[in-house]
Symmetry: C2
Subunit: 885 residues, 2 copies
Amino acid sequence: MSTKKHVYFFGAGKAEGTGKMKELLGGKGAGLAEMTNIGIPVPPGFTITTEACIYYDQHHGEYPEGLEAQIEENMKRLEETMGKKFGDVENPLLVSVRSGAKMSMPGMMDTVLNLGLNNHTVEGLAEKTQNPRMAYDAYRRFIQMFSNVVLGIKHHEFEFILNEVKEEEGVKQDTELSVQGLRNVIARYLSMLREVEKIHFPQEPKEQLKKAIDAVFESWDTPRAVTYRKLYNIPDDLGTGVNVQAMVFGNMGWDSGTGVAFTRNPSTGEKKFYGEYLLNAQGEDVVAGIRTPNPIDNLPKEMPGVYQQLVDVYQKLESHYRDMQDIEFTIEGGKLFMLQTRTGKRTAQSAIKVAVDMVHEGLITRQEGIMRIEPRQLDQLLHRHIDPKATVEVLATGLPASPGAACGMVVLDPDDACQWVEEGKKVILVRNETSPDDIHGMAVAQGILTARGGMTSHAAVVARGMGKCCVAGCEAIKVDGHGKQFTVKDKIIKEGDFITLDGSTGRVILGQAPTIEPEMSEEGRILLQWADEIKRLGVRTNADDPKSAGIAREFGAQGIGLCRTEHMFFAEDRLPIMQEMILANDEKERRQALDKLLPMQKEDFIGIFKAMDGLPVTIRLLDPPLHEFLPKHEELLVELATLKATKGDQNKIKEIQDLLHKVETLREVNPMLGLRGCRLGITYPEVSQMQTRAIFEAACELTKEGCKVLPEVMIPLVGDVQELKLQKDLTDKVAKETFEKYGLAVDYLVGTMIELPRAAITADKIASEAQFFSFGTNDLTQTTFGFSRDDAEGKFLDRYLEQGVLPQNPFEVLDREGVGELVKIGIEKGRTTKPNLKVGICGEHGGEPNSVEFCHLANLTYVSCSPYRVPIARLAAAQAKIKNG
Amino acid sequence: MSTKKHVYFFGAGKAEGTGKMKELLGGKGAGLAEMTNIGIPVPPGFTITTEACIYYDQHHGEYPEGLEAQIEENMKRLEETMGKKFGDVENPLLVSVRSGAKMSMPGMMDTVLNLGLNNHTVEGLAEKTQNPRMAYDAYRRFIQMFSNVVLGIKHHEFEFILNEVKEEEGVKQDTELSVQGLRNVIARYLSMLREVEKIHFPQEPKEQLKKAIDAVFESWDTPRAVTYRKLYNIPDDLGTGVNVQAMVFGNMGWDSGTGVAFTRNPSTGEKKFYGEYLLNAQGEDVVAGIRTPNPIDNLPKEMPGVYQQLVDVYQKLESHYRDMQDIEFTIEGGKLFMLQTRTGKRTAQSAIKVAVDMVHEGLITRQEGIMRIEPRQLDQLLHRHIDPKATVEVLATGLPASPGAACGMVVLDPDDACQWVEEGKKVILVRNETSPDDIHGMAVAQGILTARGGMTSHAAVVARGMGKCCVAGCEAIKVDGHGKQFTVKDKIIKEGDFITLDGSTGRVILGQAPTIEPEMSEEGRILLQWADEIKRLGVRTNADDPKSAGIAREFGAQGIGLCRTEHMFFAEDRLPIMQEMILANDEKERRQALDKLLPMQKEDFIGIFKAMDGLPVTIRLLDPPLHEFLPKHEELLVELATLKATKGDQNKIKEIQDLLHKVETLREVNPMLGLRGCRLGITYPEVSQMQTRAIFEAACELTKEGCKVLPEVMIPLVGDVQELKLQKDLTDKVAKETFEKYGLAVDYLVGTMIELPRAAITADKIASEAQFFSFGTNDLTQTTFGFSRDDAEGKFLDRYLEQGVLPQNPFEVLDREGVGELVKIGIEKGRTTKPNLKVGICGEHGGEPNSVEFCHLANLTYVSCSPYRVPIARLAAAQAKIKNG
């Protein structure tokens, strides 16, 4: 009768499995098999299949037929290979037992090392190694590890005993314990288990092994593991493999040792073997930092033969895996063993250099090189960042809302910010949350810190637009605007104190942390050039001023996909005129104010068009609710109440009452769903007339100067084709008038945002009037989910993400299932009417790699994102093309 | 060569056209042909086809070949039929010229009467009729009418002359003018036209006729007509017919006369000929009310022969048209002529009686009877209404937000309302707008009047739910809460003054207008019974308390489709506990408050379940943002500022500061898109636990008493299936616990609102956890359009409707193109997962006929609407079935 094969051996240069058998052997098992097969010296061992685990789980702890016999048989083979015997008192074989599923899964069983030790074999080990301290320490650790991982006994029971003995011996470190001390620890461990936990610690190695294997099997169904799988949609019937591997010891003497290394420099990417080692030491000693390890460059002198082996091995591994490897090795009695090889973690800079070098070395293709870079990593390269070597005091951590680093003095008021900056100081603006009123302060600050609001809060969006560092929603800080300070727990940070923000991690650091300059290396440019050659999606930028437009162009933007025209109106010299316009009593007064705004707005466009000479510029007409430009209702209320209560000046009271009345007229219960977007332009056509006139006059003047201007007028918040038609007709009329005035014509387009569900659903009708679509996925996400981003983030959305109600924040990563479906409907319907309709996206998602992939799949024409995300989008677009064709 | 037939004659008992040729002859032309053909005496004449009009318009005023000849030929025939001659001085034929398109269209040409008169024929007419006054007056009117309608001269030029002559003669009424006076008027009219307008008034009748016909043709393309067609999607290529008809005169002497009549009573529906007449008079005299007309019952005595003719005619018309007719007739020299017959306008009561009677008479089928009633009319029957006979002083008109009539003293504060009502007064609550804080005042008021907000504003929705009269958004009133008064223009209405509201028309009436009781007649019950037998859709009601539930059941509701659980918490005795719950510092405190709410909530459900014994009751868990239950932020701000400014009590300041802080924590920028709906139940599961426990305990207790309870728990604002699953699991757990406690089980369902675009888009997934869907089309309309109903109505939405950007208010009539499409997607996807999924609708649209038709077409299971709309929905559902099968 033939039974199924449940166990795969590896050792002595040959493995029964291969690197491709991840499904059956788990990731780790497949890796060990692969290394063995390509002749890498790996401590031998065997892997129990994931199928066996599944059987065990489905049969209430029963083994499949033949498994027990196969384990025994493979243990024999392992003993033969190692020349040691499991449970032998003189030359005991010790093994490690580890879990290993197809994909790495937290919540599964940890490693058990030194399995096979007992009261007898420990003596043999001590004798054989001539190192009783090592042997007893290994046994002590094994008891603790096994009890914890396999038997479920809490660590602190052991820590208590360990401390007791250390006190008795008057020592502080574990390593200072005497051999007798360690023996005492072992004895007390065992008696505690016996007396308190009623457990006889298994002395029989075979029993230890069976229990450890069972524990791995069972760890597949722990609640943590089940939850994790549910969250990440990992099927429940994969199971985990079990890896049993012979122990090797780097602390067997001065011909032994241990080390870790990278095949190339993980920080810079330089092609040079990089690592450190310790002789007569175990792996954990390198990590613990008790002894200072030696740089790997010293090894050739100390152990030339071993070093040469190591070089052969690492080169073999790198060319086999075709990527930079992070390796762990142990030398036992002059013999090299590889314990692990895995893809090495690296900085963005290193990742790019390694990828480009490997392409040049012919090791990988350009496509592979591009796929090697996590697009998000590029953020690191494009912003000033905190020197990773510096020691810093982290006050609190908020959301990494806009990357980079910024250092300055704390100010709590935007006006103060302006004044301090005029005095030559650098400031960080700290607010509960920001509003358009704060723009002037934000503009001059080095960085922005808010206590509330999420990744797409006002502060975050504006800061990213400005390419300015921002930490948002840092709930640990309590802002006291009146007291001109903020607190973190019981620490008070006053106005004028220095803090440093790390916008890439969300850290708020006390004092002035050293920062380093961003750098786009030569390799980075090459890589992005390759990406451009591959990608199908265009990449534009969201930019509202010539400076950001210029930066974005530098970063490879192929045009502006969103130029918001309202940000311009928050400027200090314009806000009063804007307010005049809004507070106008009739159309005539409104037109007078608009006449004053026209030349200013025209200047804006001239600057942007110049910066984008030859590239298209999509200009969105006025979008936000008008009351955003007015004094705050609450402030007026308080001012009025105070004036009245103190019997203040009657004229002043009257003045504020009038203003309050106007503000109240414009005030809305849900401004996000109120009088904004094209509803403004339809209600006050003269506003759209002014804006389009400014666009076309600017375009005409520059055309005369020989500049190539490609304006695309974009109508926001359209829900019905009639809205678009009204604004398009108005635009065409103004264009015609302006072209007549200048005696020339400029090619232009009129299109619309698709940012309401109704726009997507009726896109076939809307397309009849639109020359392009641009999906505003910020607003579309808000209305599709019914989430106000101002309210959801930092409130229930956090809880939703914690509880796994939603897998990710839909304001960061485009929700393919809901919002994405509407985008697809919109594109499909739009192209039913106009097959070649140009379709872009200009929400925050345009610079987020997963969302960029969606845009590629949905057949969009281009994505548009903030300037500093342009390189990310270029890379992500290329990856999407490579992945999906 | 045969030319096309452009002109259709009718007269002497035979018409060339028929009633079916509306396309070619227009509605009026077809009607005249039809009457002629069935032997009704109609003044003869002819109709020029709509095709001729189209040709004229497309050929810049050219007539199609043969038209001119055909007109001439038909005029001859008319002369022969009438025995008069066009332009003849002795016995002149006079005609009327009228437009008449396929569908009635305002903006088209008005009537020209008495065409054919000139300086000579007028003498003949005077001679022939022996009535020179009549003849000159007819000529005067003709000049004025023709000049105005055909030549485009403004009326006031003629009025000026007319007044001049009246002054000269020292008379006040036109009718008092002497023959010489009328001759003077005519002379001055003609000279004014000649001198001022440089027009020689056409004296040649043929020229008059041609000009009048051309004017009708041209009126098809006036801007007003074009706009109207665009608005109502009427094709531009229909054209209008031109009707030329012999004039008959009721003022030829005492054997002549004129009258109007209805074939049945238009007010009550009684089957009795009903009308009035005047002898020796023209139609306009009856209307003008200068002489008091006689009731038709007198006619048999005065002119028995003519009366018998009239009876024959009206009976023939009614049985021919199979509907109650509104007829106009003229008697010229003892001869009866019918000038018009059309479907008679009638009250709701009359409409129902006529329909049911006609079914019983075998004249129409039940289906036809049902189709005869405009569902909206039923509103009139179900609410107290203002006696239509009363003379009232209308102060202003707002939106007819909740039908019925209410009379009471003005109060401007909800607390005052309660106090006044306790003192035995009846009050009308007048507010700028209402909020949940005002509920207690609204509950005791007779009616509610608001200055702001639309048809679905808080005031409107709550009032309709309460079956209470409400006029909303009455922008003409200025509410001065502090001054305890409101003003309309310069009229001041003080607290305590009586006003009357007409919720069916939006009128605000000064003083106590007499009102009459609603009445559902026996015929009404029969008709709705027939409707129930025909309709496929179920009709449920939205009711939050036993009283409305009972009313709705009385009106035929088949269950409750939406029971809002939050309205209960606004009651005076509960609000403080609710606030305690919201302001709780931790879960424990919150649970304590909830424990107090549990028995109250249970009592609510017991009452509702009892009222709905045997019918399903859908209960929606807590939905609104919590801050709706708290004091208003603005009020706290003002109170605090005032206290601070006046150095008030420190403890009080502290207390308000704390409350303010809590309110600020809960405050949201866009509450509609914030922490509400199931987000509440997921954030605070203990709230859902309390509510579901109250539901199941109530159900168990009543089941023990033998009551049949069918609870359906509805989870609001679900956007992702995970949200539903969490709340469903919680509900099932509480149900299980409760059933164990009571030792019995009650059948129940758990379902969800579909009120977010994402819910519709992912309905297939949501259906896996839902036992029913209920479309919340209020919220779905808000998110699909991105319109906040609080902000849109009364602001830009009004302008959108005026400008025709949207054809109708989507909060009133379900937007089929956008919202409806999402509803269809939701149903289709939901039923992909569960083919028999029960699907309802519980938005305001559930009681709106057009939307009910959509629900029928979309294959919903039921609609749910406010109690007073249940009969409307029943009728609309039957009509939808009849119309669409």
